[in-house]
Symmetry: C2
């Protein structure tokens, strides 16, 4: 029998530019033999007047657009990221199972989905509760110790000892947090939101939804918040919720080697993704007490195909999560049944009377939005440079831990200095809103104003800025605080600790927003109108957060739900929109920057607008490794073992005799499926003796999911290599295809709407001519000068 498996041809990529990173081996899906005219970057803008018929000759353009410096990482697409299979492989096994299932069976499945979503919400809520209580107590202990110390030394002198105590305590907490992250699970660093965005987008970020990641994340965030860093505990909740969802929905833990034999139907990427969306939503919901905001977050950042039933399930998970947190916290606070703290952060109730806004305030809000956009862009830019620096110089775990400890110590020092040099005193209010009032050099019955901002968890500081009565802060204090905290937050984000950026952003914004409000009341004569600087603090917080993360719809709802008052819905929207527009003018959002710096092949919502020039023929990988419907085991093993290609999807073609002619497509088989087949030795001695082939079930595939063994671990004897394998039952017989002339936007739409991993390009005769994968599409993006093509590299 003729073996028509196509070998990948290794044409060199014509590296005419010295600075171009050479394409390394290991491309997923034969991304190696590019035929795109001109290769690199070319300007569509310049080509727009060229007639369709003319050939594109972008040589000149390439020369002109040659970058002046070594390209940064964000001009690359990493090949190390695999994709997820969000399109069901509807092979015979799958269809048989679906057909065997009765209507009642489907109803049970649906109920199971709801139960799982309930569980996800419950567990996420409990985790949020754990984090909240742990942080509360640890921070409480720390501030109690430091406060006692300060009070002792205020009179005796020698406050530097207090500073040292504070710095050491902070560094100790942060050290623990940084060590577990740096040495045990680096993926748990940061907020995890970019990683979850990627996961929902269809990129398999290694180890992102593992149990170990969850444990490290949770303890990491407790340590870093307790360690007094300029971080929040909200972002990590989203990641935690996603991990919980990925774990619960599979009914087993691969790490713990425990299989509950439950939920086996859901052991595939499509179903898992849906639950992970629910988990992320539940995380947002628990973090901010914002169930609707959680749903919108999941949809805005993740899912592309909006399915009504799925959305309701996500909503249910969010709801349960917020309720669980609320319920258990109410018990912990010894007010059982009083459901008043639905989220980790509680902005406090905005009184109905003070929240009125007037028409003439709207331009002011818009100005604040623009300011937030600019400050956000500055934040992102500084953090971007810092991250580049970190990627280059601080990549060893011990260095990372040391940097984190340094930041903790500096944070303590700055805070201490601020409090020390602040001479402003405030009388202790009758309601004692301050948790840890520091008297320091103030008179009895007064406390240091700066301490409300620095000697406190960031959540409490935000709340003070929103609600403390006018006159609590003086403008100078706020200005200095804003500057100091801004710089600290920039430095902190991207450290190897588990921490979020929401709360620091809100805090910075609230500070300058309140400052803005106070200054307004100075300028105008009638003080009563601007009576409430808390209102401006809220608007400032929204502007700053919007300027940094650039979400609009979900963030509006999150903030509205967190404040518990819809009156501000409209100004918050306006502010977020303005901040986004202004910020986007300068630089991308923080999460997008970090995704780019990771060189993730992320698919945006739409193809770049000027990409109609490109067709599937130019985008696809043109030499595809195909298998026969009945293929020799040896060939399969060889192809899979070829580490230089590392393909994941193989079109299956009908058996034709001539080798050079492309053959008709009849299916698509995945690497993971082949691995399972090889592992179970599903061979026959000769071709066409199908009956002797061992019968595999879907269960075998599900048991192996998601950690399919590498091909190297599977031993195939020389005799077995001569056997044949019948792929008919296991391949997907109806893969989506497009003709070669399909334009890139059309391919993109199909790919994105259906969550594809491989799209087969066929000619007029239904013969395989190419394969489009995520990386082929993600390579094109709109730069400053038109359409750019990213390089692929094995970073």
């Amino acid at each position: 029998m003729a073996n028509i498996t196509k070998k990948v041809s290794w044409s060199s990529r014509g590296d005419d530019r010295g600075e171009r990173t050479p394409l390394l081996n290991g491309a997923e899906d034969s991304k190696l033999n590019r035929q795109l005219s001109g290769g690199g970057i070319f300007h569509i803008g310049r080509l727009s007047t060229v007639d369709l018929e003319e050939e594109i000759t972008p040589e000149e353009d390439i020369i002109r657009s040659r970058p002046k410096e070594i390209p940064h990482n964000e001009k690359l697409l990493s090949l190390k990221y695999e994709s997820l299979d969000y399109d069901n492989s509807e092979n015979q096994l799958f269809l048989e199972e679906e057909r065997r299932m009765s209507q009642m069976g489907f109803r049970c499945l649906e109920i199971t989905r709801w139960v799982i979503c309930g569980l996800i919400g419950l567990l996420t809520g409990l985790i949020a509760c754990l984090i909240d209580i742990a942080v509360e107590n640890l921070a409480g202990l720390k501030y109690f110790a430091v406060k006692q110390n300060i009070e002792k030394f205020t009179e005796l002198g020698g406050l530097s000892l207090s500073l040292i105590l504070w710095a050491v305590l902070n560094s100790a907490f942060v050290m623990v947090g940084a060590i577990i992250v740096a040495f045990f699970e680096p993926i748990a660093a940061g907020s995890g939101i970019p990683q979850i965005k990627c996961y929902l987008n269809g990129v398999k970020v290694p180890r992102v939804v593992r149990l170990k990641t969850l444990v490290v994340k949770v303890f990491g965030v407790i340590c870093s918040v307790a360690g007094g860093l300029a971080v929040g505990k909200e972002g990590p909740m989203i990641h935690s919720g996603a991990v919980v969802a990925a774990g619960v929905s599979q009914g087993r833990s691969t790490s713990l080697k425990k299989d509950f034999k439950m939920f086996e139907y859901f052991r595939r990427d499509t179903e898992k993704r849906d639950f992970v969306s629910a988990g992320a939503a539940a995380g947002v919901s628990a973090a901010f007490g914002a169930p609707v905001g959680g749903v919108l977050f999941s949809l805005e950042e993740g899912a592309s195909f909006w399915n009504q039933l799925l959305t309701w399930r996500i909503f249910f998970a969010s709801m349960v999560s917020s309720f669980t947190l609320n319920f258990f916290l109410s018990i912990y606070h010894q007010k059982p049944g009083e459901l008043s703290s639905p989220g980790l952060i509680n902005f406090g109730r905005f009184d109905s009377d003070s929240v009125q806004y007037n028409l003439y305030e709207i331009p002011l809000f818009i100005i604040m939005g623009a300011l937030g956009g600019m400050l956000g862009a500055l934040f992102n830019l500084l953090n971007y440079w810092l991250t580049i620096f970190r990627i280059r110089y601080i990549h060893r775990p011990c260095l990372q831990v040391m940097e984190a400890m340094l930041v903790a110590a500096v944070t303590a020092t700055v805070s201490f200095a601020m409090i020390y040099f602040s001479t402003e005193c405030q009388p202790l209010g009758p309601d004692h809103t301050e948790e840890y009032p520091l008297q320091l050099f103030c008179a009895d019955g007064e406390y240091n104003a700066m301490a409300t901002a620095f000697f406190n968890t960031p959540e409490r500081s935000v709340r003070s800025l929103f609600h403390n009565p006018p006159g609590t802060y003086n403008p100078m204090t706020l200005g200095v605080f804003t500057l100091a905290y801004f710089l600290l937050a920039v430095w902190t984000y991207g450290l190897t600790v588990s921490a979020g950026v929401f709360i620091p952003s809100l805090l910075i914004g609230a500070a300058w927003g309140r400052l803005f409000g106070i200054l307004l009341s100075f300028i105008t004569t009638s003080k009563s109108i601007w009576a409430d600087p808390g209102k401006y603090a809220l608007i400032g917080a929204a502007a700053q957060l919007g300027g940094i993360v650039r979400m609009t719809l979900s963030l509006t709802v999150i903030l509205v739900e967190a404040t518990g008052n819809v009156t501000y819905g409209f100004p918050i929207m306006l502010v977020l929109m303005t901040a986004k527009i202004v910020g986007d003018y300068f630089v991308e959002g923080l999460y997008d920057i970090h995704i780019k710096l990771q060189s993730v092949p992320f698919l945006h919502w739409e193809a770049p607008p000027t990409s109609h020039w490109l067709t599937a023929r130019e985008v696809m990988s043109s030499q595809v490794t195909c298998f026969n419907r009945i293929e020799k085991v040896g060939t399969i093993v060889d192809v899979l073992s070829n580490t230089s290609t590392n393909h994941n999807g193989f079109p299956v073609v009908t058996h034709v005799t001539e080798i050079d002619e492309p053959s008709k497509l009849c299916g698509l088989v995945l690497r993971s499926q082949l691995i399972v087949l090889l592992k179970h030795k599903v061979f026959v001695e000769r071709a066409f003796s199908r009956f002797s082939q061992r019968k595999l079930q879907l269960k075998d595939f599900r048991d192996a999911y998601p950690r399919f063994p590498p091909i190297q671990s599977i031993h195939v004897s020389q005799d077995e290599r001569e056997c044949m394998m019948d792929l008919t039952e296991f391949m997907n017989p109806t893969p989506y295809t497009v003709p070669q002339e399909t334009s890139l936007p059309r391919v993109f739409k199909l790919f994105r709407a259906l969550g594809l991993r491989h799209l087969v390009v066929v000619d007029n005769e239904n013969r395989v001519v190419g394969l489009v994968t995520r990386k082929d599409l993600a390579r094109y993006h709109l730069g400053k000068d038109g359409l750019e093509e990213l390089q692929l590299a094995q970073t």
Copy 2:
């Protein structure tokens, strides 16, 4: 040159069942030669144990499941509904235009889209404003006249004259409203929400987004609300917003024959749909003051592909709409700049103290949700029977007008009787919350309690029920009111007037909810806990509305935004979920019932779960009318003129000589495109002399959109019939295709995710073997006994 155009074969459909409606001519997309084994209804549940290889023999099942009565309309799919083209026809003309456009051009387009969305919001807000002010004044006049009259006759006796005056006034208003709807634009009847749902789903409901519809809708709703019917003005706002959007985005009015030469790029179904989503959202936003709720409504009820940028634009339109209404109403109410009424309905501010709820109240809320679900199901069922009756007996416009007048008179009579026989008096509050307090037989300084509910616009009644202090209503009054209003509302929905069902639902629910709250305080001893029956009124309103319309996510947000307080978010969610689950057990939601009764080929979110049995081969229409790439004009005219087929999409195939062999697919051309080509006489004398063919531009297609002339209006001479037409430039060269073995769910997913109208089914050689259209997919739905197949009919 051989003409290989396939003629549709007219095989009889084997009407073995007497009650089966015979398939009439005029099927879109050759839906005539069905080959599905067994044809009619078959039970998947019973087949689930049958092995895959066996042939299905559902004869027995058909006999057993023979319906006992004449099938209602909802067992049919109407062929009169065309589909919309939500998939861009990416032909050469289109691609050339896109490629000519620079990056700046795309940016301008994007800005234009935002501007249009702003305009949509602005105009929708203004319309809402107009409706509000008109209703306010007309109702005010009416109630003033009646009140004067009643006061006059209360002492003199002869109150029957007052009743007559009231009934006549009501009937007069309603008559005007009913006449313009029944005689000028019947599509403007009802709330319009089902129609907009269909439009966004991809069904072309005739005349639904025309200017005339808008005018009739707006004046109709003013008349019916002023006429005192049990209706709201909120539902029609959604329809109005959609019409505004469809009009504004096209930059012209076909009805007024006015073309502003603007926004020509948006003259196609894909773009128009996006704007209509925005318009619907703006409508919701203006109706309820709920911008986020509007966005969610659009997404939950309409769009399937969630695109971030689109969502933001929708959000922007919503925002502007609510703001515009708010702004102009504030001027009208002579409090300019005080932005306190963001929607048509204003639930009033719930005070922060009274809105607390406790854990032990949650089971009560769930019980109320279940109650709402049951009452909603009852409402829907009664209305369903009534609608069937109306379809059969009340289809002449004058009868419809008379029915509407009758309902108006009865509503007045019932209201009057209620007020007359009610002996309950309430002291006039110091704040005079009552707009039209009726003293009637009460002592001075008191007013009739029933009059607050009946002698008032429904919006005000809802607000009274939410906010009046405890003790305002006695249980008896509320019980009788609930019953009377429930029956009136059932009777009213479906009348030939323009009116919505939201407010009556809320009012019914608020009434029994408040009753529930009052009864609770009777049962328990500690009255203070249940102090606020307004809380229960709100929950009851949510339950009743949820039980009737069965929305969850968007409705939660709408209610939260309308109450201006997020504290109730969680219980409202719970209640809506419960109401939906309980209600769905009995009968579908009101809108879905009405969509079904219209026999609209509506595509739900997913294929029925047990439909994996079916493949594209069984679902598709198997004899497809194809054209050659270069086709004789006469053939095209003949095919298009064939009124019995009325196809809309034609695969274009490569020229082959043998007639019987299916030929290779090379494109897809639409009827509308062919009409334009014929109209512009884009012919060549002989085949292959392409250069003499007149050059058409996209503009010609856009000018003809959306009212393409019928083929009968285009005169083609005998000479011209002999000419050839080259379709290469105009056909979509890359239509989506699927192989014959693709399962129905997979076809469905592709169809739904991409908004397709035609999906070509090809064989292994890329030859056309069939065509799948919306109706082929919508025919399958899950009935009580498994998968059912609907009949197609020309109703």
